[in-house]
Symmetry: D2
Subunit: 355 residues, 4 copies
């Protein structure tokens, strides 16, 4: 694959997220185009494919991965399918950008990380797009420059206006808390050692059996603590707020001030970002553009990742799995992770970061 040819991408799963990625690759970033589209629903695949006239429709995801004029794969299928499909990409030697989570159990994620390490070449990038968000990048820079002193405590808020009816308490951890888990690892630069999931009075707007909100406490290797409010039926908007408190000061992102209006009698205010695409659109664009560049630069034999990799996917999965146990047992659960050196002898000790 020469540097001047566009990267040919298969997009697997074209729901809201996947369809947005198709549009992103074809219209909003450079250097890539979608050549294969795959979805469990042939109707949905055809609908999305209509706007991407060059793309071939392939029903079976594993066939889609194998298509010859596919250089790389973007996985936006349901979470439960990620592990097997990502592993297939690694086995086929094809770079893959896998939406979070990498797997819905720690074992599945670990197998991918191990297989990639055996190959000696980084092929798996995980879609933790906040690492590409300008506000998160600024917060990370502030911490790394030592302007907050040693970080000690972190406060996170993650609210969605609503979730689909089938969403249960465990899904909240695998799909929402997982972002805060990666943000913790990214911002604080160390692994998470324990997790406690607390259960405040549930909202009456949450479906039967859904524990919402949840209050999650993370503890890192060196003893820093993170509290997370995750509330997915808040009814208000999409709100993501992160505050890091260090020895020398604190910093917060996510106050969501943009246009401020003073129209209603006696009221001032603005609009809360309605959803994740609006809030993190720029981050998704940067993530996919940088992944495309990395894959093109990696060519057929080099590393193909510029962002969180398989180990980050595994680490998040291990913490989520412990979170599920905490949710079930009401206890603090210590996170059970294999030492990184047993997966990749050459790995740095700290969490992977964008280079």
């Amino acid at each position: 694959m020469s540097d001047t040819r566009d990267l040919r991408v298969a997009v697997l799963g074209v729901g809201v997220m996947g369809a947005d990625h198709v549009d992103r690759i074809n219209r909003r970033i450079s250097g890539a185009r979608v050549t294969v589209i795959s979805d469990a629903s042939a109707e949905r695949a055809a609908e999305v494919g209509a706007s991407a006239s060059d793309a071939q429709l392939v029903t079976d995801p594993f066939e889609a991965i194998a298509v010859e004029d596919v250089d790389a794969v973007l996985l936006a299928t349901p979470s439960a399918a990620h592990a097997e499909q990502a592993l297939a990409c690694v086995n086929a030697g094809k770079p893959v950008l896998c939406e979070k989570p990498l797997a819905t159990d720690a074992e599945g994620a670990l197998e991918i990380a191990r297989r990639e390490a055996e190959l000696g070449r980084r092929l798996v990038q995980v879609g933790f797009m906040r690492r590409f968000d300008h506000e998160h990048e600024r917060l990370k820079s502030l911490i790394d420059a030592g302007e907050l002193g040693q970080p000690l405590v972190m406060h996170c808020v993650h609210r969605n206006p609503a979730v689909p009816p089938r969403c249960d308490s465990a899904t909240v951890i695998w799909n929402s808390v997982v972002h805060e888990i990666d943000a913790t690892r990214y911002l604080l630069g160390e692994e998470i050692m324990a997790i406690t999931v607390l259960r405040p009075t549930p909202s009456s707007h949450a479906a039967e059996g859904l524990q919402d909100p949840q209050l999650v406490i993370l503890e890192t290797e060196t003893g820093r603590m993170v509290d997370i409010e995750v509330f997915v039926t808040s009814g208000v908007g999409y709100e993501v707020r992160t505050e890091v408190v260090g020895e020398r000061g604190s910093a917060m992102i996510g106050l969501d001030v943009g246009l401020v209006r003073r129209t209603d009698p006696g009221r001032w205010g603005g609009q809360i970002t309605p959803g994740f695409l609006e809030r993190f659109g720029q981050a998704y664009d940067s993530e996919v553009q940088r992944w495309v560049d990395a894959v093109r630069a990696g060519g057929g034999s080099g590393d193909c990742v510029d962002g969180p990799g398989a180990w980050d996917g595994y680490a998040a999965a291990a913490v989520c799995a412990a979170g599920i146990r905490s949710l079930e047992t009401w206890d603090r659960i210590e996170v059970d992770m294999v030492p990184r050196s047993t997966v990749d002898a050459s790995a740095r000790v700290e969490p992977e970061q964008s280079e």
Copy 2:
């Protein structure tokens, strides 16, 4: 009058503002009590007097000023009555706190300033309460400490939700713009040399004949400029915002952030202060407490002012009068003021300020 006896105050005019002053003197500050209440409406006087059982009701304002057990007078009568009543106080040798404006023409204010100067004793304080507001004080300190460098430009916004039906374009200048005129003199520390009143498209919510909003440009002695939006039928709330721009930076007060709510779907925001009593309650309390302390300290022969005085009242009146001419002629009008030394030979050149 010994230092331990309460100051006996006559309150003239007990509409919204005057009644609030009665409550303030009797319940919210120390060292004073209301001994005389006067109002054109006997019914209103009785109503307010009921909550101030020690106070005597006196219908005629000039008799009220003359009552023997009145040490000082607080004037909250209609603006047009201020000049004559304040002059009566000066002539009776009684300290007076006069709500703004000191007079509704420059001549009336000048006469008071001259008469006071002849007495050689400061008795007249004008109710520019912003000089006692913590945010204004902080902005003033920042400027005086040189942290903005030389001030060059100032932006003011002054909005009321609504005004009484009889309010006309000139009243807006005498009652609302007058605050911005004093704020300019207070914050920038110099006199205003010219005023231009511009007439943007009027709001359809403004009564026939009321120019609203108005856009006012002030020019100071040294050439600094101030733009003022005054909009008294905004329908939204009471909003006062002031930004000073200097050679080394800018500073703004009045953003009105307090409680921030995120309740309505997709909206965040807060409540705009509903009116001037809520916004400047603390300032009124400080103003009256400090005036009471100054009058008690001044005793029967010393100065009885701790705040803007007669000259400040005159300066504001002169600028307002020029503003009215600008409103009528659509022209830039140079302000016509007598030199301060012709009124009071010992006066400092700069605008008076709280000591």
Copy 3:
């Protein structure tokens, strides 16, 4: 005591807080004056007394309580002395405004609550001044009006720039967390059933042995949860932030926006309130004014409280005591409180509130 005579107050303990109360009573509020000052340091008492010329100096606090021309007592002595002195006030039938905490163990507070209940007359008010702060009052109103729906979770931040060298981990709970405990009871209107004190990596600026920051989790009777960051060596400023999250939305106070400056190259921002007197000065004024009014209205036989009372002091003490055990054992501790009906048969079930 007639309604027109000033309330005669003894102030016990005239450190920073007590001296400020002396100034408040004599200069900033109406209806009261300080007639007795008492302090362990005769020198300090004389110094503060110099500005309150009418006040008599009495060394022994119990003698000071007993002085005949003392109508009521304001306790600002060290925390450890509160319980015995407050009890002496109750036994002498004198109203007392006791700075928080009411006692430094739950038993001491309970004894006071019981003794007051036996008298059948409320004499004890506790200095939880946030209940008088306008922002807290607005947040309370919003909750009570149902605008947030049922409250589910609350986030609190309490930071001081620094503490005296002798401050230990338990003192942080009795002196700082106690405010959040009362704020929880005030805002959510129910008792706290369990407390967990977590220990994040301590700041290197904290003295040896001081666990700082602490992360505290409260659980209320109905299962609502509160997370509290308390960080008393933050080095930055005095920051108090409270967010309540309900079924229908959230609201936050304490963002501390006032004057916004843009002076340093590339930076905008404002000033953090330097300390509790600046942040809560208005609240202290309202608290003492309303207490004075309540005592004057209560006369010699009625209730003399307008604010948090002895039961509130006991409830806070019981939670603090449980917090100390959590700090020692690293465990979640259930709060051990006697039923309110065993103290006062007529009591409402919910926490006391200002009427």
Copy 4:
């Protein structure tokens, strides 16, 4: 030119802005690539060209326009060169995206608008990138949805930290105020009829002869008024703030809140966007992407504009020219514009807007 082939773009002028456009076209948007680079400095052209290996270097701008495999031209040359080069593009039938201003006198801009109208095909787009900025778009939507009622007054602030030494008072109008002129036409949807340039005390940081800050007043056809502070040696940061005040409320953009830090003792705040590329990077990306799409859709015979066109460039130039006269004469100057129908009989009366 088929829809699937990339648009081949010549970039003329590769200073800061032009080089950024080269990078944008080749790396940040899709559907286009740079095939020709031209700059007065051969060295600079070579330097920028090194990162765009496919591009041919052509010294003469008119030759560059004429190169056969150039489908469209992006003009980022010095302002004085725009008119002649844009005209050459029109005459060659090549679509052009011309950085603002379209010309440095009204006549030059008018000639381009006339020539384009004769062709009967829209080829000229002007680089008023704010029309593509999300905050400006949201403000525009709010106005158009009637949520502010009829707009009456608008307040603009435009600050740069510094300007090159050669920048004079007129350049400030042609390069900075021109943005506010177009923002006024875009947001209020009507032409500007008069301009007054006021001269406050100049900053001592402004070079000899540079009037800075300037206070500019615009009046629209229907009498709305706009005040503009333009201050290009503010020393602080790049600050663009716009507030529209209507009959039913107001709205403001540009408060520049993102990451909020509390690190310095006693200070809270954030970072001001350092420059226009950081502030409006997203807007430039959208602008160029949409222009590329429009040119590709227009093919060889249709309109090739999706954004402000030649008439917008002319209108801005006419107001700027009047502004220069106001700057020279200290007077209010009425804007002299030819009726739009004399240029293009089919034109809508209102200002052009993105479709």
